[in-house]
Amino acid sequence: MKDAKPMSLARLAELLDAYGAEPERWPAHEREPALALIASDPKAAEAQGQALLLDRQLDGFDVPDASAQLRARVLEIPIRRAVPERRRMWLPGWAIAACALVPCALGFISGSMTSEPDDGWNDVAQLAQLGDISEDEWP
């Protein structure tokens, strides 16, 4: 970036305050003018050195990568969970229960609507079919 405007000391201070001393963390378009200022101005170089102290301290706090157990659990997710498309068709538990109960309820209702009152005629008819009742025994 040859036409980059020279950077002021104030802007460099803001850059160091925000991103620290490492140029790769600075916005790409500001790296070249910042480095040029640091190379030419001892105050700028000193400011970068101060920022570097905090960077080093922060680097002392290391956090481990994902454990093998976590990785295994995460990789199992597609095995344990249905693919998204199929999953969208799944019903919640209450809906499944409702689906199971509706036919029972309908059967109960239709049964009670079609059954006849038990007034003895069913028994007589069955006996007649079996030939166990004579005509004069009919009620």
Partner: protein, 207 residues
């Protein structure tokens, strides 16, 4: 059978032709997301290879609790698998993952501090005394980081530790570059203050 091909170099979806393993480069995140949305478990594995470590570290630094951080990382990837269809190409998958992970972390931080309306006010006022009682440098830095408001900690973690460009961090945090720089500067200033004594360790102390 899947071939463990490493994060970025080779696509795990290798084929075997004439006893030779033919590999192709791992597709970019956007393509993997589209495949995951169609239920492609191999594409999901590609995203895990590429991003699980960074999400686990990010959550670890935000929460300061390895067990909770693992739960957040797992939940983040569960959402990746089940909600990939909702992802739009406007957002980078990497920043989408960070956003999901951060929101999950905020939920957990709110549960830890239920009386707080805004986790941004979470700056614990333990004071330097309790922080400096810690014996090791890493613990002191961790304590100082955890004492920052969540937004400052998230910004510092993304930029300093995860190496995100300013524009990427802005996308995760939903901020302008100016606001991000302000957040970072306040965070670093606060850390410098808390770690002042650490800059000059005493003779008997290991650096």
């Amino acid at each position: 059978m899947l071939i463990d091909a490493g994060p970025d170099c080779l696509w795990a979806g290798a084929t075997i032709e004439h006893h030779a393993i033919v590999t192709t480069p791992l597709p970019d995140d956007a393509e993997l997301m589209q495949r995951i949305a169609r239920g492609d478990a191999l594409a999901y594995r590609g995203m895990v290879d590429r991003h699980l470590n960074r999400i686990a570290r990010f959550a670890g630094r935000l929460l300061g609790n390895p067990t909770e951080a693992e739960d957040v990382a797992q939940e983040t990837f569960l959402r990746l698998w089940t909600q990939a269809a909702q992802w739009t190409p406007k957002a980078q998958p990497k920043t989408w993952l960070y956003r999901v992970a951060r929101n999950l972390c905020i939920d957990r931080l709110r549960k830890q501090h239920p009386t707080m309306d805004n986790v941004d006010q979470q700056a614990t006022h333990e004071g330097p005394g309790s922080l400096f009682q810690r014996k090791r440098t890493a613990q002191q830095v961790e304590g100082a980081l955890l004492a920052l408001p969540e937004r400052q900690r998230a910004a510092l973690t993304l930029v300093h530790y995860e190496g995100l460009a300013a524009t990427e961090a802005c996308a995760v945090l939903d901020l302008s570059v100016d606001a991000l720089e302000s957040l970072l500067a306040r965070g670093r200033r606060s850390l410098r203050e808390q770690l002042r004594d650490l800059a000059q360790p005493s003779d008997g102390e290991q650096p």
